[in-house]
């Protein structure tokens, strides 16, 4: 190939070169892709072995389970994907990795947990309007279980709530201020509502005056948002303050460290 060239010839040559490089590049890509998919399938079968060897640990140790789940997510495998269509070794979501690898027992674990989550949320909806602290929910869900059964972590509950999303009904995990909550009603919190819920985290309650002073809102706006949250069942009113009425978040019936408010 002539090295130097000027004029039209040069263009032709560079086009040739580009084409050459392009085809070389796609060869390279093909080789790499093949290598990569080989690597992935090797990795996947290692993961499979790992899961089977450590199935017991995955079931019984929430921290270990969380790590494993995080790892699956990181490599693009959804541990909770249903294996209904399954059978295939491919399938972007991993096709129910948990179910396949662990014989359905971990899938059962999250399913049962989700059922319990729904039970607790239904039972407490009257007192909290469908907004419950993640910690409180985890504690309540753990309470009803038999001695010696696997410990439940907040991470487990988060994942279980995730499985409920497609069912409608509004199940979602949300973060407001410093805390995480599980919502079990379809109506989302507006910005003002969320601000009040966050404000209530400090002392357990809010008042019109407190919101006015701390958020700079007009009295009417404070009253509107408070009334809205009360009508949703998310705030309880205390009229015995001797001054302004105070509106309490029901999540303060369980204090942060589990101790009783007022002790």
């Amino acid at each position: 190939m002539a090295r130097k060239g000027v004029g039209i010839g040069a263009f032709d040559r560079s086009r040739l070169t580009s084409a050459h490089f392009a085809s070389h590049g796609s060869n390279l890509r093909a080789t790499n892709t093949e290598a990569l998919s080989t690597q992935l399938s090797v990795f996947r079968s290692l993961l499979q072995q790992f899961a089977q060897t450590h199935a017991k640990d995955i079931r019984s140790d929430p921290a270990f389970r969380a790590q494993f789940a995080r790892m699956c997510t990181a490599i693009g495998v959804d541990p909770l994907a249903s294996s209904a269509g399954g059978g295939g070794s491919d399938g972007g979501g991993g096709g129910g990795l948990w179910a396949q690898l662990l014989g359905g027992s971990v899938n059962d674990f999250y399913f049962e947990l989700a059922v319990r989550v729904v039970e607790v949320c239904s039972r407490t909806r009257g007192e909290n309007g469908g907004l419950i602290g993640l910690r409180e929910l985890t504690e309540r869900v753990s309470r009803g279980r038999m001695e010696g059964s696997a410990a439940i972590s907040e991470d487990d509950v988060r994942r279980a709530v995730g499985t409920l999303k497609p069912l409608g009904g509004g199940y979602a995990v949300l973060r407001v201020g410093r805390r995480e909550y599980v919502r079990s009603v379809p109506r989302e919190l507006g910005t003002d509502q969320a601000a009040v819920v966050e404000a209530a985290q400090v002392l357990g309650y809010v008042s019109v005056g407190m919101l006015r002073d701390n958020l700079g809102w007009e009295g009417a706006r404070c009253r509107t948002v408070i009334d809205d949250l009360v009508s949703r069942g998310m705030l309880w009113v205390d009229k015995q303050t001797g001054g302004e009425w105070e509106y309490w978040s029901p999540s303060f019936m369980v204090d942060e460290d589990g101790s009783v408010v007022g002790d």
């Binding site: 205390d238 015995q240 007022g262």
Partner: protein, 192 residues
């Protein structure tokens, strides 16, 4: 408040909601209010069960630690206490003490109620088991023996309110399992 002779060994452990200031205000939201009534009902039953209280006098209960949390300075208002008892009546957990029933010398009328932390039908079951277990079927016992006798000392039946006992026994009578005779202070019951 009338209570039995038995004294509990440990103090009553109040539930978390007892320390929640808003718990003592009648909630305006209907659903929240219902949840509130349910919790109060459970609290009253647990408190009565712990102290073995069979009858509640509204006027004295309003100032007791059941409805008045001194530390929080919050109390359930008398009107709200009445509403709570109406709620409990529907479940058969509260019952007016009729003036003809005697005993419990409160102001009469609506001031005193039975708190059925164990319903008469459940008491009937307990009594029936006790009678069977102690081989006293076919025998006769006085009401006093049942409520205060040595024989029942280690059982739940000991210290039972006299009228509640009568209610339970009348259930057994209706089932043909017992017969009550005598009157006033010396009533007896025969079990079949």
């Amino acid at each position: 408040m009338a209570s039995s002779t038995a004294t509990p060994t440990e103090p009553f452990r109040f539930p978390r909601e007892y320390y929640f200031p808003a718990f003592f205000t009648r909630q305006t939201n209907l659903t929240t209010h219902h949840a509130q009534l349910t919790k109060w009902s459970a609290l009253v039953l647990a408190y009565a069960r712990h102290h073995r209280i069979f009858r509640l006098s509204l006027s004295s209960a309003a100032d007791s630690d059941l409805f008045y949390n001194r530390k929080l300075d919050r109390r359930l208002a008398p009107a709200d206490i009445r509403e709570l008892l109406d709620f409990m009546r529907k479940d058969g957990r509260a019952e007016d003490v009729s003036s003809s029933g005697g005993g419990g010398g409160g102001a009469g009328g609506g001031d005193v109620v039975f708190i059925h932390w164990r319903k008469p039908v459940e008491w009937a079951r307990l009594i029936e088991s006790y009678v069977e277990d102690t081989g006293q079927k076919g025998g006769v016992l006085t009401l006093y023996e049942l409520a205060e006798g040595e024989g029942t000392r280690s059982t739940e039946i000991h210290g039972i309110d006299n009228e509640v006992l009568l209610k339970a026994l009348n259930i057994l009578v209706k089932r043909g399992k017992a017969q009550i005779f005598g009157q006033d202070d010396s009533q007896g019951v025969k079990f079949f």
